[in-house]
Amino acid sequence: MTGWIHPGIVVFLGGFLIPFIKWRKIKVAYFLLLPVAGLTIVVLTSIGFFGTVPSWPEALHRWRIPFLQYFLVLGKIDKMSMIFAYVYLIAAFCMNIYALRVKNDWEHVAAMAYVGSALGAIFAGDFLTLFFFLETMSWAPVFLLWFRGTKKAMGAGVRYALWHHFSGACILIGIVIHLNRTGSIDLVHLPWGWGGEFLGYNLMLLGFVVNSATTPFHSWLSDTYSEATPSGSIYMTAYTTKTAIYCLIRTFSGIPLLMWMGAIQAVFALFLAVLENDGRRLCSYHIISQIGYMVAGVGIGTEMAINGAISHALCHIIYNALLYMGAGCVLVVVGTAKFNELGGLYKYMPISFWLYMVGGFSISGFPLFNGFVSKVMTIEAAELIHNAPIYLLLEGATVGTFLHTGLKLPWNMWLQGKDEPPPTIRAKLKDSAVNTPVNMLIGMGILAFLCIFMGVYPKVLYDRLPYAVEFIPFTTTRVFSIMQMFIFTFMGFWLLRKLVRGYPTYTLDTDWPFRMAGRKVIWFCEKPLMAFANFVDEKVMNLVHFLIWFSRNPALALHIKKEEAKLKMKRFVVSQETVEKHLQILGEKRRRYPGELPKLTLGASLVLILLSLSLYLILYLLIK
């Protein structure tokens, strides 16, 4: 238990103190220091302060806690968890700067709990700890959504929770089955195949696939990320899906099914992005598309592909946070991120435009930006296994990514129109080159620097990857082919630029059947099921009322019922007048009911009591 401090726990628990700090400056400093504290621990760990980190795949085990007959390992420190921790914490620092102006302290708490649990998940050395942190991680974003306060965001929060509890349940079932088979909870690479004996593993795979937003289970991502608070959504872009990718690498790497799912997803998401009108939803589709590269890399499963998937996940955290920040600051400044309402912002927000463009070039994979150095590894891995369809899908996704994030989004938001935004938007802007809050620009600036730094000097990334890398990204062939491709992608865009304008529409996604089915279930509950419940309710209440009525004077009640029954029979044989006379008498009796109750003497009561007791005795003896 000793000898290490868990950075995730520090960030997780430290976050809960934020609302209780009174002084604003101390609060700001504390909020920024949390990820720095985590980062310090990680740096100390990597220089061997807590013991030398062994070379891959060996790991250093810290914080082993006995639990039932097992050991929970909260700190499995190896090269892979270390590199994820580095990027998670650096990104968290930049995101915290970006989020400084948020008034609601509890949003900071949710964000820190989110980052903390993501760190907890990547340092987890056993399945139970992993599951615990994945669950806490699935709750934090729900609050980031709910803090936005709009009706849409509330609904999105519930849908997010539903999806992630479904995946959580799948993972838990998988863990239990695995535990039952092997008797061990250690986090290890799992077998996979079709058939009954692999049911648990398939469920666990499904859980990770849903968490990582792999097609066809990607729709929760675009649905929810675009509804969160502007700064909350930045955190969401980074942690859930990348942690799921981390889990896939740890447990299910090298499955051909994943390779195909990833490659198809990389392209499929781009088709939906063409039709998208909301800037943040468009970026969401790009997260999905980029996750396709990572999933494909995991599926290919060679050393280079795994390295590619890891480095792409990490670069993706950085540039995608930057993209979301760019779209988010437009949302913060002018109150909308919809293309049909925007345009011509360049004159008023040029700095955020250029910072966004750094992210745009990175995600597209321009040479000298970090997307390039990680993306080409996965593509090269696909080339090395000589799988042309996978290669073409991934290369095609590069074209589409540049088309959307590099061209469509900046064109629609900043450049289209006659250098002036529409009047409604113009009214919200100062006549200055800086309309964006400074803290946002600083947060974006650090990330933009990292994008370029990692792109120019990829050694900083490659040296920390689990497998030894002998990979030179900047070959003439690669740089030349990708540049030529982009030049002509731009031409295609320019020719069809009228078609990629934004229209105020909503594009259906693969969640349509689920949402419609959900709606039908609610309709079924509200209409037929409620009608049936009311029917049963009414009948039971009638019976109860009758019993109450009956018990007031059973003798007279029986008499009245008997008379009624008699009358029903007599109706056919006697004259109408007689029936009516009888009815009148019965009505009179009912009105006077319960009437004068017969009074018993004390002796008669005693006899009755004795009689019932003796009956009970006889019954008792008979049964015995």
Partner: protein, 86 residues
């Protein structure tokens, strides 16, 4: 800060067309030399990446627009339908 407020359109187009011409010429020249190393035979087709870029981009937009006929709805699609049922 005001120099930031106009973007260099002319410079952009000049650089763009120079890049375009150079890439087309280099592709022809280099393919005949031993300068480019690809893994698949189709990558050696002349101007493969230029064709891939422009047609990939245009096909993506056009197919997506075609898909749009079936899957594009009003902005408040889910909210509106909910209203009908209540």
């Amino acid at each position: 800060m005001n120099f930031l407020r106009t973007y260099p359109k002319k410079l952009f187009w000049t650089v763009y067309f120079i890049g375009l011409t150079v890439s087309l010429i280099l592709d022809f020249v280099w393919l005949r030399s031993d300068f480019l190393h690809y893994h698949f035979p189709f990558q050696y087709l002349p101007e493969f990446f230029a064709i891939f870029g422009i047609f990939g981009c245009m096909l993506l937009i056009l197919i997506a627009k075609g898909m749009g006929c079936f899957i594009v709805r009003d902005e408040d699609y889910y909210e509106k339908n909910q209203g009908d049922q209540e």
